[in-house]
């Protein structure tokens, strides 16, 4: 659709890549540890060997993890770039965070609170700022998050390719009602959206 790839796919692949590698490594380390503790227990293995190091092994386990780590960095960075590069033609919505609600303003100055309505199948860019302390807009379903800072405009973009209702939350601690600072993102068909946009409050 529109030739736009949903950036959340790359993010999820990065999760799978990094967590997958980590699990393999963790199981390897843990298994070795357990095997050694049993195999070389003092009752079975009273005479320890005197091994103080191994130059080749130590070099290998410095270089190989470096390569793996760099690959993880690269995959993570590529996914991040996807979250930052806004495709042309994105709908722009302004969001103002305040203690303790979200004010959402559309290009035609329509204003709603704690609810973001977007059309299905069009990229959406949200420009975010804060009226008071730090807040952070987190939409888990689209893997995006950015802080709202007074005096600074930040943004996130996402691609709502499926209809539905998704929660968004404040994830930068902002005071007593921080955990109540949630809202609903509604993805509706484009026709309904046009109609909704023109509706009076």
């Amino acid at each position: 659709m529109n030739g736009i790839t949903n950036p959340l796919k790359n993010v999820d692949q990065a999760f799978i890549y990094i967590i997958g590698f980590s699990l393999v490594l963790l199981m390897f380390i843990t298994a070795l540890m357990i095997v050694f503790v049993f195999k070389y227990r003092r009752s079975k293995h009273p005479e320890p060997s005197d091994i103080r190091g191994n130059w080749l092994l130590e070099t290998a386990w410095t270089i190989i993890p470096t390569v793996i780590a760099l690959s993880m960095f690269y995959i993570g960075w590529s996914a991040y770039i996807g979250l930052r590069d806004v495709p042309p033609g994105a709908i722009e919505i302004d969001v103002f965070a305040q203690q303790f609600s979200w004010i959402v303003v559309y290009p035609n100055d329509k204003e709603i609170e704690n609810e973001i309505v977007v059309p299905q199948g069009k990229p959406v860019k949200i420009n975010l700022t804060s009226e008071d302390v730090l807040h952070s807009l987190f939409i888990p379903a689209f893997r995006v998050k950015v802080d709202a800072v007074k005096g600074l405009t930040s943004y996130v973009w996402f691609y709502p390719d499926k209809k539905g209702e998704y929660m968004f939350h404040c994830t930068e601690y902002c005071g007593i009602a921080h955990s109540e600072m949630n809202g609903v993102l509604r993805v509706i068909p484009e026709n309904d959206y046009e109609q909704w946009l023109e509706e009076e409050e």
Partner: protein, 543 residues
């Protein structure tokens, strides 16, 4: 009073009795025990706060407390655990006690400064407590992010002053350790003959000395901001709220390594002793400690990928973060290889150390998820982060602290504890820990933000499980300390070297005499040469 009487029987300065033989002492061992006493007090307090937080979260809606109380509790839990427990725990207690002995010295270089550090710790504690009673406990989180920390009405200033004073204490301890290691090593001990625990304290001390001033000045600036509204962090007055975050993490990320490096040092001592085999790759471990100290100081802004800073900064800090993972991985591989073809004796300190390796590995590997920019965005400021840093700080440093307690307990107090109860406690702590924190990884990936007083019903199962795990964990910790304290009923008959160690603290009596060494210490060419130990102990015959 003879030279071999323990330091418990020999007050320094001489002639004082009772409480005064402690409060004005300049003996590094007595100061270490005074730290043990106050640090454990705070540890228990913050544990209870933590348990209350997780109890509140066990069900949706209000469970046992209101939102304001909850916010104050997680703030105090963080402040106390970090500034009053994890940062000082291993260096101030075990470092003070063992560092001079490990390098063959009779004390630290500046004994008076050492005592002053303890009093600064107490003064910082008093400020921390005072915030509870005057003006309402702080509700900012331990990170004190502006503008909230400037605008909130609670008594944040007292807590900031507490952290400022505790920073002074930490810096002076670092200064003392660096000087001691440079100037007081026994004649004949070269740099590459220094035990790894002392090496880890050396690397830590440099970070303490160089990074802490940044935090100190930053926290003072927040106090000034609250008092005079200067506007350093306020964009409408030409300031920048992100500047605060940079300054804060310039200390607080290196501080993570202040917390973990000494723990790594502890593990590097314990694994060889119970494998009765040299540490694998001594030089690599030394080098990785120093590499962590240096590279760890350059990765602070990986806490800020969602803050609105530039993408270039995200690139640089993500890359550096992956590089700092390597020296930690090298240490883990070295510890495991140390066990290869060793002669391994299971003991409570070793069991805690194995727990450390597993839990720290989970913490480190999940750190990769956070270090990668694309995945960081989703899990930043969620329960995933809470789980990650508790695996590193508690599963890592906390377990290393427990391991150190069991490893050096007979050395410090001359008394051995019951092994069976220690094993039961260690098992409960580990299982409780995993039940407590594993669900938080899942919750975080599902999208449960941190510092949330309340949450959506779909997060309830995970929070309930975490709560149950928390109770198992706390019961295990209680049992562990009861077991250690019960050892005071035993005779003071621990051997000088109950485990078969090679470093110098095992060559002096348990507990050590006032001047540590009865006869001049003998320096081995290589600090982890176990050939004499193998000869001395008949296999399988250790009490």
């Amino acid at each position: 009073m003879t030279e071999t009487d323990s330091f418990f029987e020999t007050p320094a300065p001489a002639g004082y009795k009772g409480i005064w033989s402690w409060l004005i002492t300049m003996d590094h061992k007595r100061i270490a025990l005074m730290y043990l006493f106050v640090i454990l007090f705070w540890f228990f307090g913050a544990l209870i706060l933590g348990l209350l937080i997780r109890t509140e979260l066990m069900s949706v809606g209000k469970t046992i407390m209101g939102a304001q109380t909850y916010n104050a509790m997680f703030t105090l839990h963080g402040v106390i655990m970090i500034f009053l427990f994890i940062i000082p725990a291993i260096p101030a207690i075990f470092g003070n006690f063992l560092l001079p002995i490990q390098i063959g010295a009779d004390d630290v270089f500046f004994p008076k400064l050492n005592l002053l550090s303890w009093y600064l710790y107490i003064l910082g504690s008093i400020f921390a407590i005072s915030s509870l009673f005057f003006g309402g406990p702080p509700d900012t989180g331990w990170t004190f992010y502006v503008p909230f920390s400037v605008s909130t009405n609670t008594n944040v200033s007292a807590t900031l002053m507490a952290a400022f004073i505790l920073g002074m204490s930490s810096m002076l301890t670092g200064l003392n350790f660096i000087t001691t290691i440079h100037r007081m090593r026994v004649k004949g001990m070269r740099w590459l003959q220094i035990p790894l625990f002392t090496w880890s304290l050396y690397a830590t001390a440099w970070v303490q000395l160089l990074a802490t001033p940044i935090l100190s000045i930053t926290l003072l600036l927040v106090v000034f901001e609250r008092m005079f509204a200067i506007g350093l962090f306020d964009a409408s007055k030409g300031g920048d709220p992100l500047l605060y975050q940079h300054l804060f993490w310039m200390y607080s990320h290196p501080a993570v390594y202040i917390m973990i490096l000494p723990g790594m040092g502890v593990i590097s001592e314990i694994i060889p002793v119970f494998s009765r085999k040299s540490i694998f790759g001594y030089k690599a471990i030394v080098a990785s400690s120093m590499a962590i100290a240096i590279a760890g100081s350059l990765v602070w802004a990986h806490h800020m990928f969602t803050s609105g800073m530039s993408d270039v900064a995200v690139f640089v800090f993500s890359l550096l973060t992956f590089l700092v993972a390597i020296p930690s991985a090298v240490k883990v591989f070295s510890w495991i290889s140390t066990m290869y073809k060793g002669s391994i004796q299971m003991t409570p300190p070793l069991l805690f150390s194995l727990g450390f390796i597993y839990l720290f590995s989970v913490g480190g590997l999940t750190g990769l998820v956070l270090g990668a920019a694309g995945t960081n965005i989703h899990v930043h400021d969620t329960h995933f982060v809470v789980a990650h840093f508790h695996f590193v700080m508690f599963g890592g440093t906390g377990f290393a602290f427990f391991a150190a307690l069991h490893f050096w307990w007979p050395k410090i107090f001359g008394r051995m504890y019951d092994f069976k109860r220690a094993y039961v406690a260690a098992t409960m702590i580990t299982i409780g820990f995993i039940f407590h924190y594993m669900p938080m990884f899942i919750l975080g990936i599902m999208g449960h933000p941190r510092r949330y007083y309340d949450y959506m019903p779909r997060f309830e199962t995970g929070n309930m499980l975490a709560g149950i795990g928390g109770y198992i964990l706390i019961t295990g910790i209680a049992l562990m300390f009861v077991n250690l304290f019960l050892s005071f009923k035993n005779k003071r008959d621990a051997l000088a070297d109950p485990w078969g160690g090679t470093t110098l603290e095992w060559s002096v009596p348990s507990p050590p005499p006032l001047h540590n060494f009865v006869s001049p210490p003998e320096i081995k060419d290589y600090p982890y040469d176990f050939s004499d130990v193998v000869k001395k102990f008949k296999p399988g015959n250790i009490t």
